[in-house]
Symmetry: D2
Subunit: 427 residues, 4 copies
């Protein structure tokens, strides 16, 4: 028989998806010089070339080394340089020192990627059935992992370029995007009945371990705002003295010092003429009052919500509300790498794009949570304390990476992600 088996189709699809995801990472690095790609502007952020190498190491260490017979490691030293946080995989470059890795340089890292790509493709094409069965989930994990780093490539380089006093752009904005958009549609309140709802991975596709097990939770009736809070609305909060009114703030947020405290979202600046500008991946631009506010901390999000007489949704309220929505949004694939105003229309808008939405839920394990096995056990579970859940996705999230049950998480003071605010209220 000459027909392709479904299994062959699965392999071919995996090979193609692998190529596409890997190619996007490289495309993201293209606008950046070798010098740009080495920048590390804070311990939480990593150089572009480190991301390019680390995502390759992830395939090498978790997929190729255990499953590809005779796989030749590209350079054993890379195991030290590009392991991020996997204690079970040995010692590694300290995170705040990733910017000190000048060797290997960009060229060698490009060769490293090619070496890994070839080996992965060989494994996908030629692994026997048992190997493929073991490899397929790790391959998918590696691709989702790389997609997370694609967003980080953008948020980290944005932070790095923002340290340059002259506001260099990562990429020029498309000409059409130059003028600020029209006003944002007025916010509407969408009602949800609550009750017993199921949350977590329903098993239809890839999901991280932290989305499992699917389980039921009880919700009271609630309402969510139809769209995220805009920059213009946030300016009202600033102008109303929001940053100086302790009663609006959580204690930890109020006592933050210096740059973390802020007097406005990260990257905003009040100009000499009293107007506000914002540093973006397209350089510094006048603030667009209709666009969703982003680069706010959880503390800022919660203080804004208190000021607005509302609150932040829990992660389950959020998930239940979007359960029936299509996972569609304005993502990384778009030309414009910043949040844009909502389009008018009924129901929840922009749930899956433009900005990650801080929730009022600490990042706790789901009841019955079991981490993945092997090194992948360290992927999510060990971070389940001191962080808050964000839901949705952002203008820097790649297409195909998001879903209703996705749990992003960051510490409450983090501001360098595209993190925004959607308001909630008790019904």
């Amino acid at each position: 028989m000459n027909e392709r088996s479904p299994r062959d189709d699965a392999r071919a699809a995996a090979a193609e998806r692998y190529r596409a995801v890997r190619a996007l990472s490289e495309r993201l690095a293209e606008p950046l010089s070798a010098e740009d790609q080495g920048l590390q502007s804070m311990p939480d952020a990593s150089p572009t070339r480190w991301h390019l190498a680390h995502t390759s190491w992830f395939f090498e260490a978790l997929l190729l080394a255990p499953l590809q017979p005779g796989y030749a490691v590209f350079d054993p030293r890379f195991h030290y340089f590009f392991n991020s946080y996997y204690e079970s995989l040995g010692p590694r470059q300290a995170r705040p020192q990733r910017g000190l890795i000048s060797r290997p340089g960009s060229d060698e890292i490009r060769r490293y990627r090619a070496h890994v790509d070839a080996a992965v493709q060989r494994l996908v094409a030629g692994g026997d059935a048992a190997t493929w069965a073991a490899a397929a989930p790790l391959l998918e994990l590696g691709l989702n992992h790389e997609q997370q780093h694609q967003e980080l490539i953008l948020t980290d380089i944005k932070h790095a370029l923002a340290q340059n006093a002259f506001d260099p752009a990562y990429r020029a904005a498309p000409a059409a995007s130059a003028s600020p958009a029209a006003a944002a549609p007025a916010v509407a309140w969408c009602d949800f009945a609550g009750g017993e709802v199921a949350v977590g991975d329903a098993g239809a596709g890839f999901a991280y371990d932290n989305e499992r097990p699917r389980h039921a939770v009880l919700l009271r009736p609630y309402r969510l705002a139809s769209r995220p809070v805009t920059c213009g609305e946030y300016l009202d909060f600033i102008d109303d003295g929001g940053y100086a009114r302790a009663a609006l703030w959580l204690s930890d947020g109020w006592t933050l010092a210096g740059e973390q405290r802020g007097q406005a979202p990260l990257y905003w600046r009040r100009e000499a003429d009293g107007s506000w500008s914002e540093f973006t991946l397209h350089g510094r631009r006048p603030l667009d009052p209709a666009a969703p506010v982003c680069h706010v901390s959880f503390y800022e999000a919660a203080a804004y919500a208190a000021w607005a007489g509302a609150r932040l949704p829990t992660e389950f309220e959020w998930e239940a509300a979007v359960a029936d929505l299509p996972v569609a949004g304005r993502w990384l694939d778009a030309d414009v790498l910043r949040p844009l105003p909502a389009t008018p229309g009924p129901g929840l808008r922009q749930a899956f794009g433009d900005v990650w939405e801080w929730t009022r839920s600490a990042y706790d394990p789901y009841p019955g949570f079991q981490p993945l096995t092997g090194a992948a056990a360290e992927y999510n579970g060990k971070f389940m304390v001191g962080q808050l859940v964000l839901r949705g996705g952002s203008c820097a999230s790649p297409a195909g990476h998001l879903r209703a049950s996705y749990r992003n998480f960051f510490p409450p003071a983090a501001r360098w992600q595209f993190s925004g605010i959607r308001l909630a209220r008790d019904a």
Copy 2:
């Protein structure tokens, strides 16, 4: 008629309870010299005399000033010195500098307490009906507040005395307690069916705002250990290399540095002969392997649980499990100010005494949470991020202060409280 009205009875009971609570604070200070009472050994801990003054200020600022007509403030400067964290009540001594308040000294603070006591008693005895209606809940809040500080007086002075190289005792141990107890009873696993259970303040008595509203949650079937983990069991964890096995640890706990990291619970020391000792409020003593381990961080608790093939309970599993137990335990009123071994018997033991039990629940607001009004709004709500819930109570908690719905909370690295471990498992 000669009969006392029920209202008079309520006032008389309040007056008596006030006298008793306030007297206990002073009794706790008695073993301490003026020098001891001024110690502040870390920013999180406060001097004894600050606690004595701050609890009085609380009555003055929240009860007497708003409700007692013509109340004469004892010294307006105390408003600055002894406000803890109430932003709405004005500027105050920075927390890490509380040890720098030498004036007022202990004598003047004693007079301050007497002044406040007299005024409160006048208010209780003589306030008109409307005043009493407004005062009664604030009085009760103030008494519960003072009880919390009674525990802090002990945990803070324990930390301070532990900095003294020669292990001075807060108070001599009763002679009878000198010899270590018998072995702890073997741990048993108590099963609970889960399902939909109600948690939070049921309205039968005083509760903090953070215990409200009572609401239903869904639990899966689970099991709890019959008693807290003992020092002997924890030593097995140490001896098995528990502190050196990254796979057991949450990432934030693993990367803690220096003293916070530890290699054993706070106050433990390995002696030259290889044995272990523990600094207690009765001075340094040989470790009692049968007593509950305490002074562990959330990170240590979670790592121990992972090592033991178990997990920590959620706060709701804990609350549902004790719902029908009497609130009884070995508290501050006992002679021995340290955890003692469990007594044998069926069911959950030591739920309400000896050690606070870390849960696997972040300190999030309950659905529909509303803070108290006025200055008391800052009592609990503004701390609802970055902390973990502890349940139960400790050997330093005063009698009458605890209940099933009580939510204590501390940051995950905190170790100076009497914090211990109870294991849980999925059924």
Copy 3:
């Protein structure tokens, strides 16, 4: 024969001098409560009761233990608590934790002092000739050491009380001192020929090892201001933008951050009405423009000198200039514990009192410097880097402690001493 020998006279004089010096320390502690005596407001400053104990320990460890046969140590734990920095004498309480020593308390330290006093007097009265020969220089060292700590008792408690938001006084000012003095006399310039001059201890009385050996240095002709810079003159510097003009400042001073940077001398405050006040040991007072400025760092002193078109003197210019002056000034013995305006008259004024004078000389060893032997070797020599020499003496220096060759030294950022400015110029 009934005559006293000269040796008896020497012993009697030593005994009397010992009594007097020790009594002064206790007199200095008298205005302070037990609470005050425990304050440590920064790592560089020590609690009063620590000073009282440490100076006793010094006699115990360096004099009594080695030389008094059968001396019974008062409490061996004090060796740990009250050793300051003598590595050769074993481990000790870390300096920033001196405020955490609550036991022993003030009463026990008083008994410690009495115990040491009695033993020293026995040694002075009864030691044989060889013992006395060995003891006499150590006794003298111990008394000079205690005098240094007398000044520190005052400067340290001043810093500690200044942390109290309500400006408590160490001691009330004498009534007569209430009104600011008359204007300071105009500054005159005193000329000195320079050439080869001898500096250092001439051997006439007690001197520290750091003043030896006496040696010749070459000086160019120079001029010194007749009196220290006044607060009024320093205000002109402030008003002229002195703190904002980088060209006046040494780089390390310019880049100091926060409190160390300052915008005025330590303890100065600009009041709401634009006037200036100063915290003193007598509480907060209006600034006296005629009094010498003090509590300035070396950086401030050097910046002021640059602004004034002058420079700071070297330590040798200073010493040569005062070689023929009587060692007289307004010291600790005075009623008023703050610098007072100069009295009119010819020549250098206030060289030995009111304020220590920063010199432009790093604290380097003299050529041929030999530290004392034994534990006393650590007294001075090991600090000979990173510090600047101050000459003269202050209103907090005890009478009989000063001399022309005296080398005081502090790091350049130190401001809590009574440190001021005398200008110099090339002739």
Copy 4:
């Protein structure tokens, strides 16, 4: 007449010297990738490409902008990026953030250098007499400045590459240098009579302002070691417990913590077999016991000297001792970029090469010191506190940059320079 004037000769010589010095900087960058050139491994060290740009900016800002009519600034933003510490020349990139300048990159900095070079050569060739008179000393200052940065390029990249876990070499060592040299010649003591000696710039060539004015000092008779201390000798100090004997150390050195404290010179490592290795610009190599020890702090140098029963020389003893020696040594121009053993022979060896020699002299101004005028006033004077003088020169100092009166200076804890030890004794 056709003859060249002496002035023409001076200009031609300056042009040629300029070409040669500038070319050497670029040659030093050649072995480094764009990635390497961006590394900043600590606040005190700067990226290679920053050095290349800053030295060009120095000519632009101090020479071309004021003196070249119509000079077109290459890019005004560079004034911000590449000003090092000149407050009078405006705001600038914070020193610890120099590694965050990715734009301009290496290519653009190369163009910047060419732009400046062309303009300087035009100025040298075509400036009128008055311009040339003003320009010549600034040109010479700029060239000496660039030479200082040539040494820093090497010491900074050495520090940066040392952070790489796999010891990459800056440049391969010449084959001939592979084997350790023969034993160092035994140390001899050279006697000097002291007395009144003249020190400082004698006016024969270029000198910095900090070497002026020449003046007389008095020295006692003294002896200097014929060669620097070797690694082998320093190992004896280590093996004798030198790092654990407080009595040898200055207090500030003893209390240094962590990496600054060290247990051996910077870059040394004890291997698993007990031998010692050293990271060099040629990668990691076995320690050469005959070579001068380097990368020691002033504290280590002084402790070693105390251990050896000697002391460090003062800067004047050093200068007087070399006054009659030729300024010759093994410098940057050599193939081997590390100190080599002394060659046998009479008198002082290696005074001007291999390692800078810590002196026991704080970096104080000379009597009558006057800084240069204009922006150059900030070159040296504002650093005259908190630093120690080093004399001589190192294997990373360029030829033609050194002289007997040269005063190098670093803070006492600095170890990343090629800093070594020469012993002194009183005669």
